[in-house]
């Protein structure tokens, strides 16, 4: 018996993911749809050995306007699943049925699952499932994904219709003249499209859907004939064809609602969600409430609980390192021991230390996402972000990026507009992530007497870099055009499920851990090799002094790049390069290369006077105690190419080599230019000589100001981004 393929389709926020997880359990395969970064999930139906469930992206309709819609359409038309299980949010049934009517037209056997029935019952509304089933001409099942009711029943019914074959009962819901035109179209295309989907194709041709017309190339006579009918309809209804179809679909749904849904008047003055929204998105209160929520989130994840967990993890990896060292002592060559303990365990450990802190942050952000608040945050921030050429939806990636850029960059997927998404990917890592904070702490302690202003200024710099980049990039050809109009469906507020929050936290955390195990492991080993080997007195081999290592030589050969920035010594260069593995490595490198020794991170964590005293040698040795040099170094390290893990995430999300390289180069150039300007103008202000560098710095500032304030040359250019063409 061959496999049965069931496609799971429905609106976003209809409980589709919860249902999918319930039906497939842990037997899932997660990948990407070919050529795009939209997640593709597949799983085996529990209790069956030949039923595959294909989760489709959440969509509102089958028009070709968004990436998700194109993917879903292509899958349903080209792959021909054996049946569709359509999840409908019962609390929001009118909107959801809009998609349902289109899915039915495809002619694929279909079962409609009216989800969230527990909430529907609670509000006192009544949905007459029998009438709905009769009107739609397909089975309708009540489910409640949160409680698990009806899910398996819905799946079994879908398997049954898949076995029984076609869905023949397609309800007609357009007015006379439209039906007339569609009937004519059906007649002309029935020999060229799959028989069961003839109605869907006919309606799409009526709407003049470009993608469908491209696909089924009509003969010029047919085309002319059909066009006449469409134009006649448009004249009669005084509207364009697509609007006619949309309008009549909603009219049909409104009629259907009369027959099947009885609303209680319990919430005549608005539902609970409406009431919450009146407060949380209130014109005056929205921002203060938002800042209060964020304060609590960061206080817990970065402050109290987070701090404690980082300390714990560091201790753990130190112990693992010592334990492995003990095992190997005398048994294996010191080279291998160094490779494993210092290279592999040390490198990966330094990254994994941040995992608990990140998990706590992601846990809280997942909670805010699942309960519906994050969608409101995007709405609140849109007003502000729009001024800088970004959309409110860019805000969530940056929020997550303050924990770790990797899941932050991945969170940019929810942004439909490609330009806005690319811009978000390019700017997310400017927000200092958890691993950049130790660098900030080091500079603050070693040079600035532990001033708290340094940390605050790092966040300000990050935000400034995002804003400046937004404004400047928006005025370039690649990013021309207004940010996409903000349109976002806001889910009802609800208590998140434990499994939902945990799943999303785990997925984000795991994407980070996985990289720690692959790319960071490899690069840690490479860096360890470069820093431990070199040309010593006895030729090439293991060197005791890092000064003689290959890395030191490489650093030395690159230091001319950084001399104009005020830190042209090979140690600072090496620290920056090592920062590519993981940003907090910078602290360790400075420690090892100075009199402070390996415990630099511990001293930094001790904080207070101890850190200021203990780390002072670093400031003296590498920056001559100069605040300008040290801060210039900080600026460069905050903005330049992010760590390898984040670069990997950028590559995956950009899905395009040119854009990836462009993003990295842009960041690094911005970092260099910012440091250069800061350092050289700083020197002049301090009363230094007014040399060539200062002149260049002023020229850069003028060019920057021009790029920032020039009128947008592409302002009136309307560029529409087509999806799925890459």
């Amino acid at each position: 018996m061959s496999d049965i393929k069931i496609a799971l389709a429905g609106n976003p926020n209809s409980g589709k993911t919860t249902l999918f997880n319930m039906l497939t359990g842990s037997k899932q395969y997660v990948g990407n749809w070919p050529g795009v970064t939209v997640e593709k999930k597949e799983g085996m139906l529990k209790g069956f050995d030949n039923v595959i469930i294909q989760d489709l992206p959440g969509i509102y309709s089958l028009s070709p306007y968004s990436l998700e819609e194109v993917i879903t359409r292509n899958y349903l038309i080209d792959e021909q699943p054996d049946a569709i299980l359509n999840i409908v949010d019962g609390t929001n049934i009118e909107r959801n049925l809009y998609l349902t009517t289109q899915l039915i037209e495809l002619g694929i056997p279909i079962v409609v699952a009216v989800n969230m029935m527990d909430i529907v019952r609670k509000t006192g509304d009544k949905i007459n499932v029998e009438n709905l089933s009769k009107a739609l001409g397909c089975p309708v099942v009540e489910t409640s994904a949160l409680k698990g009711d009806g899910a398996m029943e819905a799946a079994r019914r879908t398997v049954a219709v898949a076995n029984s074959g076609e869905n023949k009962n397609i309800p007609c819901h357009f007015e006379g003249s439209v039906e007339h035109a569609i009937a004519h179209i059906e007649e002309s295309i029935q020999s060229i499209v799959p028989k069961h989907s003839v109605r869907w194709y006919a309606i799409k041709i009526f709407e003049r859907d470009e993608k469908v017309l491209e696909k089924i190339k009509l003969s010029p006579e047919d085309n002319k004939h059909i066009e006449e009918h469409i134009v006649e309809c448009e004249r009669e209804m005084d509207d364009d064809a697509e609007s006619i179809i949309i309008g009549q679909r909603y009219a049909y749904i409104a009629k259907l609602m009369e027959k099947t849904v009885k609303k209680s008047n319990k919430y005549a003055d608005g539902t609970v969600s409406d009431k919450i929204d009146r407060v949380l998105t209130n014109r005056v209160l929205a921002l203060p409430i938002f800042f209060a929520v964020m304060y609590v989130v960061y206080k817990i994840s970065i402050g109290t609980v987070g701090d404690w967990s980082v300390g714990f993890m560091e201790g753990l990896f130190e112990n693992i390192g010592e334990f492995v060292s003990g095992l190997m002592e005398g048994n294996v060559s010191p080279v291998l021991q160094g490779l494993i303990v210092d290279g592999a365990i040390g490198g990966v450990g330094s990254v994994l230390t941040f995992v608990p802190q990140m998990i706590i942050l992601f846990l809280m952000l997942a909670f805010l996402e699942e309960c519906g608040y994050m969608a409101r945050v995007a709405f609140i921030m849109d007003r502000i972000f729009r001024r800088f050429g970004l959309s409110g939806k860019s805000f969530i990636p940056m929020l997550i990026g303050s924990g770790c850029s990797v899941p932050g960059i991945m969170a940019s997927r929810t942004i439909e507009n490609e330009r806005d998404r690319r811009m978000t990917i390019m700017t997310t890592s400017f927000i200092p992530c958890g691993a950049k904070m130790p660098i900030v702490g080091l500079i603050a302690s070693a040079v600035f007497g532990g001033s708290a202003l340094i940390a605050t200024s790092a966040y300000f710099l990050g935000v400034a870099a995002v804003i400046i980049s937004g404004v400047i990039l928006k005025k370039t050809k690649a990013f021309a055009g207004e940010p996409a109009e903000f349109v976002m469906e806001l889910p009802s507020y609800h208590w998140p499920t434990v499994s939902g929050v945990l799943r999303s936290t785990w997925e984000r955390g795991w994407s980070f851990i996985k990289r720690a195990g692959t790319i960071i492991l490899l690069s840690s080993i490479a860096i360890w090799f470069l820093s431990s080997f070199g040309f010593g007195e006895e030729g090439f081999g293991l060197v005791e002094d890092m000064n003689e290592s290959v890395l030191a030589k490489l650093g030395g050969s690159l230091k001319w790049i950084f001399t104009p920035l005020g830190f042209g010594n090979w140690e600072a260069v090496v620290a920056t390069v090592m920062g590519l593995v993981a940003k907090e490595e910078v602290v360790n490198v400075f420690g090892v290369l100075s009199a402070v020794g390996e415990g630099a991170m511990d001293i930094l964590e001790a904080g207070g006077a101890e850190a200021i005293e203990g780390l002072k040698p670093i400031g003296e040795q590498f920056f001559n105690g100069s605040g300008l040099s040290a801060y210039s170094f900080l600026i460069f390290n905050l903005f330049c190419a992010p760590c390898f893990a984040a670069i990997g995430a950028i590559r995956r999300e950009m899905n395009n080599a040119k854009w990836t390289v462009g993003a990295i180069v842009y960041m690094t150039v911005l970092a260099w230019v910012s440091s250069f300007v800061f350092y050289n103008l700083g020197l002049v202000i301090r009363g230094g000589a007014f040399g060539i560098n200062a002149i260049i710095a002023i020229v850069i500032v003028v060019i920057g100001a021009y790029l920032l304030f020039r009128p947008n040359p592409y302002k009136n250019e309307k560029i529409s981004i087509k999806y799925g063409d890459q």
Partner: protein, 69 residues
């Protein structure tokens, strides 16, 4: 009047959708069709949260000027 001028907390009926085809269709698909009953939930600058077909939709100021109620 355009929806951007409508009062928070009040109910209206959609009379017409203006603007280019793409924006028009996008709004119509969200349920902003002629005759649809809507309610203004809240507003931030010009960005507005509107309840349409029992569903809350956040739309930008640009979109809000295209909906005539």
């Amino acid at each position: 009047m355009p929806l951007i001028m409508a009062e928070t907390g009040k109910c209206y009926t959609v009379k017409e959708i203006r603007g280019g085809k793409e924006a028009k269709h996008r709004l119509e698909k969200l349920g902003f069709v002629e005759g649809a009953a809507i309610e203004i939930i809240s507003r931030q600058g010009g960005n507005t949260i509107v309840k349409v077909f029992e569903c809350r939709v956040a739309i930008g100021a640009g979109m809000a000027t295209k909906i005539i109620v």
